[in-house]
Symmetry: C2
Subunit: 143 residues, 2 copies
DNA sequence: AGCAGTCGGACAACCTAGTTGTCTATTGTC
DNA sequence: GACAATAGACAACTAGGTTGTCCGACTGCT
């Protein structure tokens, strides 16, 4: 039935990601946050979790500092971030998440979690935990 | 430990995809097929499986016919495809996979399958089947 | 047989999310 | 004080898509 099991696995992983993300983006738009992408949401999470400069954000997301700077510019434009001079280090621009940024994060997280909970209801908590465990092994080990 | 389970699931899915694909691209390069991307390999699979025109390929991959045409142009440039006039329909350009294309497909599939088999060895066949089942539900149903 | 509508393909302009390379200003280290 | 490392800005580029427009070829209907 499936003549390409390995390639199918890859396509399933990508399709799963886009399905989940599309759902969340639609929900964010419905809740008053149009123009937000998954990249934005992940970056804002990383900044709120401690990445306080473009270089640091790039390292934390695994992309170049230039790419991180572009994402930061977009988030600032959408009023999700403030950039201020760092009094300790004149090279840096200190990043803080605005109130609107925290609101967007909460809605995004809520939508992600709600989807995950619905999925758990359909396939069972054990199957979902098993999936997450397999993916963690896939991404962190030499398989 | 994980304060964002839903977002983490999305990131795991994407990271799983890129891990798998990067591995295969490296293997293809090592086996004499540099410049091949996952997009190319998936498109060639779809063409070999019956998508015989740019429009049809686009529908089968879920992208616009223009995007499919760009991928086809790249595959033709890399000598993985032939485009010939269709005697039955002068609008169409009939697509056939070359010998080198079939060789590349075989290597790509082999690399994908080998990785999947190694993963099954680490986590068990049941866990892998369960993962694929969950992803199929995630991508094909209204969850 | 004619004609309207659909379909395949090409071309252009644009977008997103990244890349590398180069540059300046600042900071930390010996 | 010299010098390497770091933060950020700017430019040019790439991949892989998108819409919109257009034309020529086919198809179904009357």
């Amino acid at each position: 039935m499936d003549t390409h099991p390995g390639a199918t696995l890859a396509q399933l992983l990508l399709a799963g990601f886009t399905t989940l993300v599309d759902e969340v983006v639609v929900e964010l738009e419905r809740e008053g946050h149009p123009g937000v992408t998954a990249t934005h949401a992940f970056a804002l999470d990383a900044i709120d979790a401690g990445a306080q400069s473009a270089s640091e954000l790039g390292r934390s997301l695994g992309v170049s500092k230039q790419a991180a700077a572009k994402t930061i510019a977009a988030l600032e434009e959408l009023s999700y971030l403030d950039r201020r001079a760092d009094p300790q280090d004149a090279r840096r621009k200190y990043l803080t998440v605005t109130d609107r940024g925290h609101e967007m994060m909460a809605i995004g997280e809520g939508a992600f979690d709600a989807y995950r909970t619905r999925l758990a209801g359909q396939v069972g908590t054990r199957a979902l935990h098993s999936l997450e465990n397999v993916l963690r092994i896939l991404t962190t080990q030499q398989v």
